[in-house]
Amino acid sequence: MILARVAGNIVATRKDPRLEGFKLLIVKPVTPEGNPESNYLIAVDSVGAGPNDLVLVVSGSSARMAEGCKDKPVDASIVGIVDLVHLEK
């Protein structure tokens, strides 16, 4: 899993019917220190994340194990909203 910050959302009217009703968010991966990385990805949201939230993103076939994503064409899911990052010195 990776840490990412919600950077926006996307709207798609024409899409795979199995994706209907899903919230799609643009997320930007960040390091545990909070520094943004250069790439973006689109993730399905199953926990109710909002703009600027620090979230946990699961990728690959495991993304389909998030709630409601079984057998859906999804490869990135938001599975948690992060409250605290604890880094040992």
């Binding site: 840490l3 390091t31 926990v47 699961v58 990728s59 194990m65 599975v79 948690g80 909203i81 992060v82």
Partner: protein, 89 residues
């Protein structure tokens, strides 16, 4: 599977139902010489590790297998603590 060092942990209250009570650790991937390589990840923990320990983790859908029959949405899981590394090249 890959080598890594546990750097810390994260706390997330709002998360996928199947991630409930899972420990989420920050892991820095290492090469066999134990030099950090690549981006830090968030891993679920199947063995009970602490910060500073050298561990190995697996990636992909297999990461959820240690938690069966629960379907934990994770793509990286710590599956062992390393006692010793003997790298000959």
């Amino acid at each position: 599977m890959y080598l890594g060092r546990v750097m810390g942990s994260i706390v997330a209250t709002v998360k996928d139902r199947n991630l409930h009570a899972q420990k989420l650790m920050i892991v820095q991937p290492l090469n066999p010489q134990l030099i950090p390589t690549g981006k830090q990840l968030i891993c679920t923990d199947a063995v009970g590790v602490g910060a500073g320990e050298i561990i190995y983790y697996c990636r992909g859908k297999e990461s959820s297998f240690p938690f069966l029959p629960a379907e934990v949405p994770t793509d990286t899981t710590i599956v062992g603590v390393v006692d010793e590394v003997r790298a000959e090249c």
